[in-house]
């Protein structure tokens, strides 16, 4: 792999807090190595801003290995940037070339209010989980782990859904700011497993009610969420969610 350096112009969304209107500002960044991660490139800019007496760009990040789900950002119109199945922290500067202009915006959705600059509040996701995204089993109640054999394919499918990192890229990508992919991943993870079956009906009904309450839009099946999901969560999960919701509504009391 050939390494190279590049000079770029960043057009970054700056917003002091949730009450501020926000605007774009442009910053040149020079001598960026193709081996850097995207966030390391922003680190470079921030170090310069601080040294020059400016205000560094606030952004969320933590594990920087693509699993915690904390990093966000919409890069040139794409949540988590141009690479498929990649979080912003795993995006590397090889994806860009010298002279590029990169527009960086926060995840935009009314349900994700901006905290500052590129950092947003995704507490709505926690509240959706609180509304039913669990299996009710107190510590100490469990039987032996092998007492309940689970079809391997089923377990694998549940795992694929459980791989969701709760980053919110699906919401950011959706033209309706819908959280259906996030929701459906959790509903699928739990309802595919026999342990999750007893609470299947209330779970889906309560979680959808909470999603609607939080101010997310509804799903119009454009599947942009699937295309942008850094963990490749499939929209088949949304179909399953729809089916379960309809089933719960028709058979519920």
């Amino acid at each position: 792999m050939q390494h190279y350096t590049m000079n770029l112009t960043l057009k970054v969304w700056r917003q002091r807090n949730n009450k501020d209107a926000g605007r774009f500002e442009s910053y040149p960044v020079n001598n960026i190595s193709s081996e850097m991660s995207f966030l390391e490139m922003i680190d470079v800019l921030n170090e310069k801003l601080i040294t020059d007496g400016g205000d560094p760009i606030a952004f969320d990040h933590d594990c920087r290995e693509g699993i915690c789900g904390m990093c966000s950002m919409v890069i040139n119109g794409r949540p988590h940037g141009p690479w498929e199945e990649t979080t912003t922290c795993q995006l590397h500067m090889r994806a860009f070339k010298d002279g590029d202009m990169i527009t960086i915006e926060p995840f935009r959705a009314n349900a994700f209010p901006v905290v500052k600059d590129l950092a947003v509040n995704r507490g709505a996701f926690d509240r959706i989980i609180q509304s039913g995204g669990f299996i009710s089993v107190n510590t100490g109640n469990a039987v032996d782990g092998n007492s309940l054999p689970i079809d391997k394919d089923m377990a694998d499918e549940a795992f694929a859904a459980a791989a969701c990192i709760g980053c919110g890229a699906c919401v950011a990508a959706c033209k309706n700011a819908s959280a259906m992919l996030f929701l459906s991943a959790k509903v699928s993870h739990l309802s595919l497993l026999p342990q999750g079956k007893p609470e299947k009906k209330q779970r889906v009904v309560n979680m959808i009610a909470q999603m609607d309450k939080e101010g997310f839009g509804s799903c119009t099946n454009t599947y942009a969420c699937e295309a942008e999901c850094p963990k490749g969560i499939s929209v088949v999960n949304i179909a399953r969610l729809n089916r379960e919701y309809l089933g719960a509504s028709l058979s519920g009391d």
Partner: protein
């Protein structure tokens, strides 16, 4: 959970769209079947007889009320959803991801629906209004009087701008269906990973073939083309 809660929820609203959409698709099939008469031999009489059947059969007339209700529900709910969904992101993106992650027609269902609605209004004025409220010439077959809807078509489609307008309507319909059919399947939860491609392909075929047949009608009438090669087995 009761029914009103179901239909008030975000998924419930989508179910309304899907149900009414599928119902309207059945109407399209019947309409298309009637239209297809013009491509075969003796188009005028066969078409007028078919139109007469559609206009006088009691069952069809009752269903027509349902059809209008279906249209209204689909349109009103569609606009309401669009407005609601638009309100969920007050600050828009400066850069859009464009068509990289989703199809333009999937994102433009409201626009396509509006074009179809405009077309529909013109279409109703051209044919449905005169056949219900008078203004059509009459013809006689086997001693019975029929509206000469075929004649009306010949008059209307003689004008080039009307043909263009109808073609726009058909294209809009095609794209609307291209998204709509598989979307309805997804909403009903029929999208198993093994069947999803089948549903998508069948839906896409439908979305192309039906509007194509519709589009051929004004073209054929405008240019006086006819297959004249046999006839559809008439039910009427």
């Amino acid at each position: 959970m009761n029914w009103s809660q179901l239909f008030a929820s975000s998924i419930g609203k989508k179910i309304t769209m899907a149900l009414t959409g599928l119902f309207l698709i059945i109407f399209l099939l019947v309409h298309c079947y009637v239209n297809a008469n013009v491509f075969f031999s003796n188009p005028e009489e066969n078409f007028n007889r078919a139109a007469h059947f559609m206009g006088t059969n009691l069952l069809i007339r009752v269903t027509e009320i349902g059809l209008f209700l279906g249209f209204i529900l689909h349109i009103v709910q569609g606009y309401k959803l669009e407005l609601q969904n638009r309100s969920k992101r007050s600050v828009k993106y400066a850069v859009s991801s464009g068509n990289v992650t989703s199809k333009w027609y999937s994102r433009s269902m409201a626009l396509l629906g509006t074009l179809i609605l405009l077309f529909l209004i013109v279409h109703l004025i051209h044919f449905w209004v005169p056949s219900r409220f008078g203004g059509l010439t009459e013809v006689e077959y086997d001693g019975k009087t029929y509206h000469n809807l075929y004649g009306q078509m010949q008059d209307v489609f003689a004008q080039s701008w009307v043909v263009v307008l109808y073609l726009i309507g058909c294209f809009s319909l095609s794209w609307h269906l291209l998204h709509g059919i598989q979307s309805a399947a997804q909403t009903f939860g029929w999208a198993h990973k093994n069947y999803m491609p089948v549903i998508k392909n069948v839906g896409a075929a439908f979305a192309i073939i039906i509007p194509l047949i519709f589009a051929l009608m004004p073209i054929c009438l405008h240019f006086g083309l006819s297959l004249d090669a046999g006839s559809l087995t008439l039910l009427f």
